[in-house]
């Protein structure tokens, strides 16, 4: 294994590869900063630029774009509450609150540090357990996937605080929105009302931009112009105490992210939500969650980065994309004449290990670039909001249009902007809606396949050890806090769960 890692670093550390990795990270960060343009769009758009390169150089640059775009999305999540990817939605909860308190710098810095640590942990895990984990992932059939989706919904319930009902309702709305369009299993057009644009469904990126970017801007206009956030440069620097508070969250987030990232599908998004949910349970500072807890940024950011790396396990070993971006990268593999699969590690070790080593190098570059830059990015908040919000709206709408070059996306953003404003006005959480929308399609697919597997009998779900274990875990997520609180309070009526009774987390 050591030989393989050394071979990888030898390949990735050539001056040419480091240079293109840097270019990729930089370009990715800029792309990630633009609403609507996430890592999958960034990678897809820039593939043609890499066609003249050696395959390993091209893949290293594309991996750099992947990480850069993710971090770019984190910057906008923290500064203007506009997530670049569904997996950054949770970061807005505490990251944006930190920014509103003049602590955007530490939020951005801990995101970079968390991502870096996650990269190291996941690289080691990738090197150690990629093939066995791929086999484990292969054992995940529709019932197991369905159980994982149920776990995702359980997460929503577990961290919606006092607004559990609202959170659940919004997750259901998300699932309902996900059903719009042609049904994947039978080809039935649902809720399309004769509109051709709706046949392919309502894309979550436009929904996300509308809810978070436009909705937040409108809500801020109603709240009134506040003085620009003028934090001192010292406030913008991360402190030892911040790092000390975040250590556990980063380690837990990295582990959880890697595990979920191995599973094809919505691994990164689920991982970030779950990591946040777990952290809210175990943190000593759980009361601060939703109000600017640094652990609330560290955990999901570590988780989504670890999951992004782990997404490569099924991609490289099985040829099954772990997520949207790895699906695009899988396309790039075929462009370069590479056939992913179990034999890839044996047949092209320099390429595979070079790529894996480049994940590490890409994250080092991100850290080196962004740790000193975090306070500089945070200075954006000094721009008066009267100038800032028209620009946010401009980039949001142009970014939405650029996704599919379709004006329908602009209308979707407008409509969901209105919806987002109403949701903010009445403290209705938005993140569950996005999670419901993202995993709704996967949930339905898994449900239909499970039903087919059991000839219409869904109890098959309870006959498979992995799905039963995951369902039990989901049950623990939902019911354990209440049970623990009751036990602590000796079952006295009126004694309630301290975690759910804490001030509502506005997601």
């Amino acid at each position: 294994m050591v030989d393989n890692i050394l071979l990888g670093f030898q390949t990735a550390l050539s001056p040419e590869n480091v240079l293109w990795c840097f270019v990729g990270v930089l370009a990715g960060t800029v792309i990630g900063l633009l609403p609507g343009l996430g890592s999958s769009t960034g990678v897809a758009v820039l593939i043609p630029l890499t066609l003249a390169f050696e395959p390993v150089t091209a893949l290293i640059m594309l991996a750099g774009i992947y990480y850069g775009a993710q971090y770019g999305g984190t910057i906008t999540s923290v500064l203007i509450s506009t997530p670049g990817e569904a997996s950054s939605v949770v970061t807005t909860l505490d990251g944006y609150q930190m920014a509103r308190r003049g602590r955007a710098g530490p939020a951005l810095a801990i995101a970079a540090i968390g991502s870096f640590v996650a990269a190291i942990v996941s690289l080691l895990l990738l090197a150690l357990v990629a093939p066995p984990l791929a086999n484990f992932a292969l054992g995940f059939g529709p019932p197991e996937n369905l159980a994982v989706m149920v776990l995702g919904f359980a997460t929503i319930i577990s961290f919606s605080g006092d607004s559990k009902l609202k959170g659940l309702a919004m997750a259901v709305v998300g699932v309902l929105i996900a059903t719009v369009g042609v049904d994947a299993s039978g080809g039935t057009a649902r809720f399309t009302f004769g509109n051709v644009n709706l046949l392919s469904g309502i894309p979550y990126v436009e929904v996300m931009i509308g809810l978070f970017a436009v909705g937040e801007v409108m809500y801020q206009i109603r709240q009134g112009a506040a003085a620009p956030i003028r934090a001192t440069f010292r406030d913008m620097m991360i402190t030892r105490a911040d790092i000390s508070r975040s250590k556990g969250a980063i380690v837990r987030g990295s582990g959880l992210g890697f595990l979920l990232g191995v599973l094809p599908g919505a691994g990164s998004t689920l991982a970030s939500f779950l990591a946040y949910g777990v952290e809210k349970r175990v943190s000593k500072n759980k009361d601060e969650f939703g109000k600017g807890a640094i652990e609330g940024v560290a955990a999901p950011e570590s988780a989504n980065n670890a999951a992004a790396n782990a997404n490569f396990v099924p991609t490289l070993t099985l040829g099954i994309p772990g997520g949207a971006t790895t699906a695009v990268l899988l396309g790039a593999f075929t462009v370069y004449g590479i056939q992913p699969g179990p034999l890839l590690f044996d047949q092209q070790p320099d390429l595979v290990w070079g790529l894996l080593a480049s994940f590490f190098i890409g994250n080092v570059l991100l850290l080196v670039m962004n740790l000193p830059m975090a306070p500089v990015f945070a200075q954006m908040l000094r721009v008066p909001y009267g100038y800032m919000y028209p620009l946010i709206l401009f980039t949001s709408f142009v970014g939405a249009y650029a996704i599919d070059n379709n004006f329908f996306s602009v209308w979707l953003v407008f409509v969901f902007g209105l919806v987002g404003y109403v949701m903010k006005l009445y403290d209705i959480p938005m993140a569950p809606l996005v999670l419901g929308l993202v995993i709704g399609t996967l949930f339905e697919k898994a449900l239909v396949q499970t039903s087919a597997l059991g000839d219409g009998d869904l109890t098959i779900l309870f006959t498979r050890p992995i799905s039963v274990t995951v369902l039990l875990l989901a049950g623990v997520f939902v019911f354990a806090p209440t049970l623990v609180a009751r036990l602590r309070g000796n079952g006295r009526p009126g004694t309630s769960d301290p975690t759910t009774d804490s001030e509502e987390t506005r997601v």
Binding site: G224, G386, D455
Partner: protein
């Protein structure tokens, strides 16, 4: 004087209306979803199952939230809004709400204007009008910011990413 309690009341009623709309959405989704077929002839899950189940669940949750909102409304009538609550420009809440709808209106106008003026001119105009007219920022700095934003968007989206932004009748 009368607009202030009215605004508070509208906001509270709006919450109930929102949950009512959710309930209605759930009912409609359940009814329409059922039409897609809950089960296939062989007993497997059909295309209507998830929409119907989600619709029913949403209708129930929406109804519970609606009842809760009405109860809370009855228990504690809307508190009058603090008239002295002003932002740094001295705007009261009713004024801010007016601003909000003005911005929404301008945004809608910018979207409609895209087919005539093109994306860049239309949204560039939106930025300029909002920052000068709504936000009362200085014309010169607003103009500088607008032009910079349009040039940046043009370079990134049109030149670098080759996004064919709608050009409108002006061809810009």
């Amino acid at each position: 004087m009368t607009t202030i309690p009215l605004l508070a009341r509208v906001t509270r009623v709006g919450e109930a209306v929102t949950y009512g709309a959710l309930t209605l959405l759930g009912v409609v989704a359940a009814v329409v979803g059922r039409g897609y077929g809950l089960l296939l002839p062989n007993g497997q899950v059909g295309p209507g199952m998830v929409p119907t189940a989600s619709g029913v669940l949403l209708a129930v949750l929406g109804a519970v939230l609606l009842v809760r909102a009405i109860r809370e409304h009855r228990a504690a009538p809307p508190a009058p809004i603090d008239r002295d609550s002003r932002d740094i420009f001295g705007r009261t809440e009713p004024e801010r709400v007016r601003h909000l709808w003005v911005v929404f209106g301008l945004l809608l106008a910018a979207i409609f204007a895209v087919s005539i003026l093109g994306f860049l001119v239309s949204f560039g105009g939106f930025v300029l009008v909002v920052s000068t007219w709504v936000e009362r920022r200085r014309l010169l700095s607003s103009l500088a910011i607008t032009v910079s934003a349009v040039v940046f968007i043009y370079l990134v989206f049109v030149v670098f990413l080759r996004v064919p932004l709608p050009q409108g009748l002006l061809g810009i």
